[in-house]
C-alpha cells in the first residue's frame, strides 16, 4: 500500500549506519586530501576556506587546518577592503561558534578565536563576553572559556567590578567552582587594595568574603574549592626573599649566606654581591650540595687576603637583588668565625601560612571552625583549617591542642597520613626553633618528637649540637649541609638506611647512628669526605652482623674511631 510505513529492523539499522559512516569517511578523506593539495599549490582562496569548514566543522581539533585558515585570511585580508575583512572575520567568528558547540574544549578553536578577534577591524567585545557567559553557564568549569574570558576582559578593559559581579552570579548558582573563587582572589586586590600589603584586599572586604565562604563550607564542608579560597583569604602577601644570616669562617676560608626563601644565584650575575671591607670581592657562589639549584644557602670561598690577620677586624657585607636585603658581619682578629643573623621571633617567620595582623579575625574564624567541627567531627578540611588557624594565632600556646587535632585528622584521613606526619614534623621543628631562640642556644634538642622530615635547617646555620634521637627519620636531607658549625650529631633510634647524597659537614666530629637500619658499609660512603669526623657509633645496625664490616669500614674511614658493637 502506498505511503504505509515499515520500521527498519536492527540489522537494517546497523547496515544503514555502517553505510553512512563509510560515506562520511570517504568525504572526510577526500576533503582533507583536497585541502593539503591546495595548500601545497599556495591556493589561499575562499574555496580552500570552504573545504576546511567541512573538516573543522566535524573535527575542530585539527590544528593544521586552523593554521591554514590563518594563512588564507591573511592573504584575503591583504587583497580586500577593510569592509570585506570585517565581514570575513565575522563569518569566521560565527563558524567558530559552531565549532565550539561541537567541542567546547578545543584548544585550537579558542586560540583561533583569539587570533580572529585580534584581526577583526571592529571587534565587538560585548558579544564575546556574552558568548563566554553562555558557555560558562552550561559548564562553569570550562577553563578554556575562562582563559578566553580573561583575554576578552583584558582587551576590552572590562571593569573589575563587572567581573566580580559575574563571579557572584556563578557562585550563587553553584559554589563548587574553583575558577570563580580564584577569579575573585585576583579581582578583589585590584578593586580594594590594602595599602599596607601589596596584592591583598582590605580587611573590610576580607570579612565579607569570609562570611560568603563560610556559607559555602557550612553548606558543604567536603567541597574543597571553598576551603582553598578560605585559606587564601586568611593568607598574606608572599614576602620577598631576605637574608637571614651571614656566617664567615676563617678556618674553612668560606662565607655562607642563608635566605628566608630559596633563591638562585646566577653565575656572573650581580644578584648576590659581596663586599669585603667595603671593596667588592668577586667570588663564585655555590650551594652546599654543589648542585646550584634554587636553595636557601649559598656559599663562597674567600681568598686568603680577605682573611689576613693584619687588621683588627674584617667586615663582610652581602647585598641581595640590588640592595633589597643586605647584611654585614664582622670577623675579629684571633676569632675563627663571625656571623650576623636575624632573630626568628622578631619576624614571626613561621606564620607565613596565614596573616598575623588579623588576629581577631583569625580568632573568630577559629571559633566558627570549631563549631563546624562539633557538627562534622571527621571533616578533614575543617580539622586542617583549625590547625593552621591555631598556628597563625600562637604556635606555642596551641602546641598541645594542635598535636591532638593532628591525631584526629590522621585518623579521619589515613590516605594522607604521610603528608600529615611531615606537616606535623615541620610545625614541631618550628616550635623548637622558636623556643631555642628565646634561649639563644647553639644546642638543639629535637629528640623523641616523631619527626619524619627535617626542615628549616636554614634557620640553624650556627648550631653546634643537634639531637635527633628517637624520631622516625629515614634519611638525612642534603640541606643538612647548611649546618656549617655542627660538631655533634645524635641520630640514635631512627630508621636511617643510607647516607647516600649527604654533602660533607665541615665541622662534624661526633656522629652517633646507633640503632638505625644501615645494612652495608657502602651506605656510609659520604662520611669519607667529612674532614673532621673522629667518632662514629654504629651499634644496633644490621651491618654489625656482617663478618667483615669492621675491616671494610676501616678501609672506608681510616681516621675515624668506629664502634660497631
Amino acid at each position: 500500500m502506498h505511503g504505509r510505513l515499515k520500521v527498519k529492523t536492527t540489522e537494517e539499522q546497523a547496515e544503514a549506519k555502517r553505510l553512512e559512516r563509510e560515506k562520511k569517511l570517504r568525504q572526510y578523506v577526500a576533503a582533507t586530501t583536497a585541502i593539503f593539495e591546495k595548500r601545497k599549490m599556495g591556493q589561499l582562496d575562499k574555496e580552500a576556506l570552504e573545504l576546511t569548514n567541512q573538516i573543522l566543522g566535524v573535527n575542530p581539533d585539527f590544528a593544521t587546518l586552523w593554521n591554514f585558515r590563518r594563512e588564507i585570511i591573511l592573504r584575503l585580508e591583504g587583497e580586500g577592503s577593510p569592509e570585506e575583512t570585517q565581514s570575513l572575520c565575522r563569518g569566521e567568528l560565527s563558524f567558530l561558534e559552531t565549532c565550539l558547540r561541537v567541542n567546547p574544549k578545543s584548544y585550537g578553536t579558542w586560540h583561533h578565536r583569539c587570533w580572529v578577534m585580534g584581526h577583526v577591524p571592529h571587534p565587538d567585545w560585548a558579544r564575546e563576553l556574552e558568548l563566554c557567559a553562555k558557555f560558562l553557564e552550561s559548564d562553569e568549569r570550562n577553563f578554556h572559556c575562562w582563559d578566553y574570558r580573561r583575554f576578552v576582559v583584558q582587551r576590552a578593559q572590562v571593569p573589575a567590578a563587572d567581573e566580580l559581579r559575574f563571579t557572584d552570579h556563578l557562585i550563587t548558582r553553584n559554589f563548587s567552582n574553583y575558577s570563580s573563587w580564584h577569579y575573585r582572589s585576583r579581582l578583589l586586590p585590584q578593586l580594594h587594595p590594602d595599602p599596607r600589603q601589596p596584592g591583598r584586599p582590605t580587611e573590610a572586604v576580607l570579612l565579607k568574603e569570609l562570611e560568603l565562604v563560610q556559607n559555602a563550607f557550612f553548606t558543604d564542608p567536603n567541597d574543597q574549592s571553598a576551603w582553598f579560597y578560605h585559606r587564601w583569604l586568611l593568607g598574606r602577601a608572599e614576602p620577598e626573599p631576605t637574608i637571614l644570616c651571614v656566617y664567615v669562617s676563617r678556618e674553612d676560608s668560606s662565607l655562607a649566606v642563608a635566605f628566608s626563601q630559596p633563591v638562585v644565584v646566577t653565575p656572573g650575575s650581580c644578584d648576590l654581591l659581596l663586599f669585603a671591607d667595603e671593596a667588592p670581592l668577586a667570588v663564585n657562589w655555590r650551594t652546599p650540595d654543589g648542585r646550584n639549584r634554587p636553595g636557601l644557602m649559598w656559599l663562597c670561598d674567600l681568598p686568603a687576603s680577605a682573611l689576613n690577620d693584619h687588621w683588627p677586624q674584617h667586615t663582610f657585607r652581602v647585598q641581595w637583588a640590588g640592595g633589597e636585603s643586605q647584611k654585614e658581619c664582622v670577623l675579629f682578629k684571633g676569632r675563627s668565625d663571625g656571623w650576623c643573623r636575624d632573630s626568628v621571633t622578631e619576624e614571626q617567620v613561621f606564620r607565613c601560612e596565614l596573616s598575623v595582623e588579623k588576629s581577631t579575625v583569625l580568632q573568630s574564624e577559629l571559633e566558627s571552625c570549631k563549631e563546624l567541627q562539633a557538627l562534622e567531627p571527621e571533616n578533614k578540611w575543617c580539622l586542617l583549617t583549625i590547625i593552621l588557624l591555631m598556628r597563625a594565632l600562637d604556635p606555642l600556646v596551641y602546641e598541645r591542642e594542635t598535636l591532638s587535632y593532628f591525631d584526629t585528622l590522621k585518623a579521619a584521613d589515613p590516605m594522607r597520613s604521610a603528608y600529615l606526619d611531615d606537616l606535623r614534623s615541620r610545625f614541631l621543628v618550628e616550635n623548637s626553633i622558636l623556643r631555642m631562640e628565646y634561649a639563644e642556644a647553639r644546642v638543639v634538642d629535637l629528640s623523641g618528637r616523631g619527626l619524619t622530615v627535617l626542615c628549616h635547617l636554614e634557620q640553624l646555620p650556627l648550631i653546634t649540637h643537634l639531637n635527633l634521637a628517637g624520631n622516625r627519620l629515614r634519611r638525612l636531607p642534603p640541606t643538612l649541609a647548611m649546618l656549617r658549625c655542627l660538631e655533634v650529631l645524635e641520630l640514635e633510634g631512627n630508621q636511617i638506611e643510607t647516607l647516600e647524597g649527604l654533602p660533607p659537614l665541615p665541622r662534624l666530629e661526633e656522629f652517633s647512628a646507633r640503632s638505625n637500619r644501615i645494612q652495608r658499609p657502602s651506605d656510609l660512603r659520604p662520611l669519607a669526605s667529612f674532614p673532621r669526623l673522629r667518632l662514629l657509633a654504629l651499634q644496633g645496625n644490621p651491618l654489625g652482623a656482617l663478618p667483615d664490616a669492621q675491616s671494610q669500614l676501616a678501609a672506608l674511614l681510616p681516621r675515624v674511631e668506629i664502634t660497631l658493637a
Partner: protein, 634 residues
C-alpha cells in the same frame, strides 16, 4: 464518516482522564484497534482545564444538576441474547458543593463576554450522542493526523487551537534561558525600586509598587487567558509520569516550567524553604549551623537505606517524632516535615518521611532548582498529550464489540457502585492579585503546604501559578487549594484562605498606615468537592464482567504516580506480553513503501544553518516535521 466507524475493536476506552488516555495510547502503540470515547463535551473528565467562561459553565452545570432524561430503549435491540447489558451512568456525580464567590469589582459585568469564546457550552445532552475520539488504528499512519472531520461542534475549534499552540514543542532549555532572563530583568527592576524607596517615593513609583486593580469585567474579558485545572497536581522531575512522557516521546507535545519556590507557612508568615544546595548556600534566613544541620540531614536522607542504624529505633514511630531526635532546629523540622517530605505530621511513619524526603531530593536539579514541573496551559494538557494525533468523530448508537473495555469510575452506574466507599477531595481555586510571597520577580510558581491547626485535620496543599504558566491573565495569580475532605470544600479550606488572603477587595485597605505585610486580595474563588475514586478494590464493584477494567478519577496526591501505575497495571493485565508505551520508532528508520528513498542527510551540511543553542537532545528533523503536520491552524 461516522457511518464508517468499524464495529469491531480490540479495546474500547471510555473516559479521557489521565489513566484512560495513557491506556488508549499504550494500546494503540502496541497495535490494538482502539475506540476512545467520552460523553462529556470536553477532554479530560475531572482532569480537565477550563477557560474562565468554560469553568463558569462547568460550575453552572454542576450546581443545577438536571434530572437525566430517560433515554430511548433503542439500544436494547443491539444486545444479543447471550449478553447482559451493563448500563453506564449518564450523569457525572463526582462533583459536589460547588460554590463560587466574586470579590472583585463587578461593574458592567453583565454584558461582558469572553473575547472569542462561544456564548456558552452546549447543554449537556442526555442522549446516546457520543462525541467519540478515535485513536489511530492499526492501518492508519500515526505520523499523520488523518482528520475525519467533525459533524457537530461540541468541541469548538477555538478551544482546540487554544490548547494546542505551536510553541508547545519548543525545547525546555530554551524556556529555561528565557526564564533566567526574566529573573535578571526583574532583579534590576527591583533595585531601581529600592533606590526609589530610599528617596522620596515619587507617585509613579508608588503606583508601580501597588498591584494593578483587576475588575471582574477584566477577568471575564481575558477569560481565555485562564486554564483552570479541576485537579491541581505537579510532576515530580523523577517520577513515573515524566519517565513515561520521555520514554514514549509524548513529552514533545507539552512544555513545562519548573516550580520556582517551595514555601512554608510558620507563625503566620510565608517564607521560602531552602532545599537545594544552592538555596542553602544563598539563604539569608538560616544560621551557619542551621545550614550544616539541614544539609547534613538531607544528605543522609539521600541514602538513608544505607544507614539503618540511624533510624532503626524509630521505625515504628512517627516521622515528626524522629525529626525531633535529630540535630535540627524547630524551624528546620518544620521545613523538612511540611515542605520537603510533605507527609502528614499526625500519621506518617519515619520510613514514609525518609522515603518522601529522598524522592524530593532525587528530583532536585534534574530540570531546575526545585523537584517539580508544571505543564504550561495547565495539568489538563497531560491527558490530551496522550490523545494527540486523534481524529474526532461523532457517533450515534451503533453496536460495537471489543475484547476489552476500560471505563472510568464515574461512568459506572450507581447500582454497580453501591458498595463502594468513596473519599472526597476538597478543592478551592482562587484568582488573586498578588503572590503570597512577593519577591523581585512576579513570575514565580510556588508550592506551599499549610499544616493543620488541629490534630487529625488534613494539611492543605497550595499551588500558586503566575501568568507565565499560561493559566491566568497578566497581573493575577491562580491559586489552587487541595486537601482530603473532612467537610465541604468551603468549610475545609476557607479558614486557610483567610489566613493567607484578604477577601475584601472593595474596601480600601489599612495599608495607608504602614503598608507593612499586606495580604494579597482574592478577586474570585470557587470551592467544590471532588470524588476520590482512587484505591478502590475491583471487588467492591458489583457484577463487573471480567473484561471490564475500571480507571480511577484523580487522587489527592501531589504527583501523578497513581494514575500512571494504574494505567500500566491495567494494560499489563490486558496484554501481558506487550511493552507498555515503548518509544516510537526513530523517523529515520521509517521506510515509506512506494515513496522512493528519502532525501539523505548530507552529513557535511554547511555550518550556516546550524542551530543557535547547543543541545544534545535536539529533536531530529523528522520530529519537527511531524509537529508541523499536526499543528491545527485556525
Amino acid at each position: 464518516m461516522a457511518d464508517n466507524l468499524p464495529s469491531e475493536f480490540d479495546v474500547v476506552v471510555i473516559g479521557t482522564g489521565l489513566p484512560e488516555s495513557i491506556i488508549a495510547s499504550a494500546c494503540s502503540r502496541s497495535g490494538q484497534r482502539v475506540l476512545h470515547v467520552d460523553s462529556r463535551s470536553y477532554y479530560g473528565g475531572n482532569w480537565a482545564s477550563f477557560s474562565f467562561s468554560g469553568l463558569l459553565s462547568w460550575i453552572k452545570e454542576n450546581q443545577e444538576k438536571t434530572d437525566v432524561r430517560e433515554d430511548g430503549e433503542d439500544w436494547r435491540k443491539l444486545i444479543l441474547k447471550t449478553e447482559e447489558a451493563i448500563s453506564l451512568n449518564k450523569q457525572d456525580n463526582t462533583i459536589q458543593h460547588v460554590e463560587d464567590v466574586c470579590y472583585a469589582c463587578q461593574d458592567l459585568a453583565e454584558d461582558v463576554k469572553e473575547a472569542g469564546a462561544l456564548p456558552k457550552l452546549p447543554a449537556f445532552e442526555a442522549s446516546d450522542t457520543r462525541e467519540a475520539a478515535q485513536e489511530s488504528e492499526k492501518e492508519s499512519l500515526p505520523v499523520q493526523s488523518q482528520s475525519l472531520g467533525t459533524e457537530n461542534c461540541e468541541i469548538s475549534p477555538e478551544s482546540v487551537t487554544c490548547n494546542d499552540p505551536e510553541s508547545m514543542t519548543e525545547r525546555k532549555d530554551a524556556e529555561m534561558t528565557s526564564e533566567r532572563e526574566n529573573l535578571c530583568d526583574a532583579t534590576s527592576d527591583q533595585s531601581a525600586l529600592e533606590t526609589g524607596k530610599t528617596e522620596n517615593v515619587s507617585t509613579a513609583e508608588a503606583a508601580a509598587l501597588k498591584p494593578k486593580k483587576i475588575t471582574y469585567t477584566q477577568i471575564v474579558k481575558e477569560g481565555r487567558r485562564f486554564n483552570i485545572d479541576l485537579i491541581s497536581k505537579l510532576l515530580y522531575s523523577q517520577g513515573l509520569l515524566i519517565d513515561l512522557l520521555t520514554k514514549s516521546n509524548v513529552s514533545r507535545y507539552a512544555e513545562f516550567k519548573n516550580v520556582t519556590r517551595i514555601l512554608a507557612f510558620q507563625e503566620g508568615r510565608v517564607e521560602q524553604v531552602p532545599c537545594s544546595r544552592a538555596d542553602v548556600f544563598n539563604s539569608k534566613q538560616l544560621t551557619m549551623v542551621e545550614k550544616r544541620m539541614l544539609m547534613k540531614f538531607l544528605t543522609f536522607c539521600l541514602d538513608y537505606e544505607q544507614h539503618p542504624e540511624e533510624y532503626q529505633d524509630y521505625k515504628e514511630r512517627k516521622f515528626s517524632e524522629y525529626l525531633k531526635t535529630q540535630k535540627l532546629t524547630s524551624n528546620l523540622q518544620h521545613f523538612i516535615l511540611h515542605s520537603i517530605s510533605m507527609v502528614s505530621e499526625a500519621d506518617s511513619g519515619t520510613i514514609d518521611g525518609l522515603k518522601a524526603t529522598k524522592h524530593f531530593l532525587q528530583c532536585l536539579g534534574r530540570y531546575g532548582n526545585t523537584p517539580f514541573l508544571f505543564p504550561l496551559y495547565g495539568q489538563g494538557e497531560i491527558p490530551q498529550c496522550f490523545c494527540r494525533c486523534k481524529a474526532l468523530i461523532d457517533h450515534f448508537g451503533q453496536r460495537i464489540s471489543a475484547n476489552y473495555f476500560v471505563v472510568e469510575d464515574s461512568y459506572l452506574s450507581e447500582k454497580t457502585c453501591t458498595n463502594v466507599c468513596y473519599r472526597q477531595i476538597s478543592r478551592a481555586v482562587l484568582i488573586t492579585d498578588q503572590s503570597v510571597l512577593k519577591t523581585d520577580s512576579d513570575q514565580q510558581i510556588s508550592i506551599l503546604t499549610v499544616p493543620p491547626v488541629e490534630r487529625g485535620q488534613p494539611a492543605v496543599r497550595i499551588i500558586e501559578l503566575c501568568s507565565s504558566t499560561m493559566t491566568c491573565m497578566r497581573n493575577t495569580y491562580l491559586v489552587h487549594f487541595t486537601c482530603s475532605s473532612t467537610k465541604t470544600a468551603k468549610e475545609d479550606l476557607e479558614p486557610v484562605v483567610q489566613k493567607l488572603f484578604s477577601l475584601n477587595a472593595e474596601t480600601e485597605r489599612e495599608s495607608e498606615n504602614g503598608g507593612g505585610l499586606e495580604k494579597p486580595r482574592v478577586l474570585w474563588a470557587v470551592y467544590f468537592n471532588m470524588r476520590d475514586s482512587s484505591g478502590i478494590d475491583r471487588n467492591s464493584y458489583d457484577c463487573l464482567p471480567s473484561n471490564v477494567y475500571v480507571c480511577s478519577g484523580p487522587d489527592c496526591a501531589l504527583g501523578n504516580d497513581y494514575a500512571v501505575k494504574q494505567a500500566e497495571t491495567l494494560f499489563q493485565e490486558m496484554f501481558p506480553k506487550e511493552e507498555f508505551c515503548p518509544p516510537p520508532p526513530n523517523p529515520e528508520d521509517i521506510i515509506y513503501d512506494g515513496d522512493g528513498t528519502q532525501p539523505e542527510d548530507p552529513g557535511f551540511s554547511s555550518s550556516s544553518n546550524a542551530k543557535t543553542e547547543p543541545s544534545p537532545e535536539e529533536s531530529s528533523d523528522g520530529d519537527s516535521c511531524k509537529v508541523s503536520e499536526e499543528h491545527h491552524e485556525e
